[in-house]
Amino acid sequence: MEQPKTSNPGQGLGIAGLVIGIITLLISFIPCLGVYALVPGIIAIVLSAIGYSQATKAQAAKGLVLAALIISIVGTLIAGWQFYALKTISNPENIEKFSKKFKEAIEEELSDEEMAEFEKAMESLEEEMGEEFEGLTEEEKREKIRKKAKEAMKEFSKDMEEATEDLEKELEKLEGDTTK
């Protein structure tokens, strides 16, 4: 006598899809690391989709398989969006666009003399960096740039403070002259 079937078709694949789908969803929420969730996400979608088609063919219960499919798709979409966002941020073209806009904004703010001084400072910084960059890894180069930029910012803010103090003194002097 034939034994009655105890498992629904597609159930096993549905369980596997659900477990991998939930793991995908969890990882996809972690910034940057979420990119790795793309691989299990795609596996979970494939497993769930096969499970769903098997369950549909056999007209079996589809609740679990459907849940697995939805969770996997959501997790993979979030991971895919993260991948797209990271790729956009780290694209050299976008960095170039940013520096162009930054330069434009600075040109608007500074006078010709100040601009010439700024460009001169940038050139000397580039020269300095060029000599120091020889034989360094990408990580070391980035670290050096970060340090130099920090130093330059400190120097810049110090100059700004001094300039503001000078301006204040001049203003006080002018005020004193006008009251006389």
Partner: protein, 137 residues
């Protein structure tokens, strides 16, 4: 819950317990000062700095050694995530034990599981959810 659903739920719990257990074994294999972990930092691959997930594996390793201060210094969100996985690990075992012993009322366990897991997820992943919401502002 039908016997078939109960069996599926049992398998899902067992699989999650195994996966979470593997995470702890993986974290225990390395020390927080090791640089030889299997997962390369995505932040380095995409040249991103600062990165919210940098040092997460090492933070987990530090937590495995019970060094919470180092774990926080490596990644401030690391201990939260570690707690999430640890709580889930024990909850899976508790659910498995209940499923084996209890003959009835497994529906209550399923709904409690869903509720607790969602609350735990929101509580532990909150800094990341906050990060994503600030990303859109």
């Amino acid at each position: 819950m039908t016997p078939q659903s109960k069996k599926s739920y049992f398998i899902i719990n067992a699989l999650f317990a195994g996966i979470f257990g593997c995470i702890f074994v993986y974290s225990g294999l390395f020390t927080s000062t090791d640089n030889g972990s299997f997962i390369p930092s995505v932040c380095d691959l995409f040249h991103l700095s600062p990165c919210p997930s940098k040092g997460l594996s090492r933070s987990f390793s530090a937590m495995m050694q019970g060094d919470i201060h180092t774990a926080i210094s490596l990644n401030p969100i690391g201990p939260r995530l570690f707690f999430f996985f640890l709580a889930q690990f024990f909850f899976r075992f508790a659910a498995l034990t209940y499923l084996v012993k209890a003959k009835k009322n497994t529906d209550a366990l399923l709904f409690t599981d869903i509720g607790i897991s969602i609350l735990l997820f929101i509580g532990c992943f909150y800094p990341f959810l906050e990060f994503w919401s600030s990303f859109y502002k």
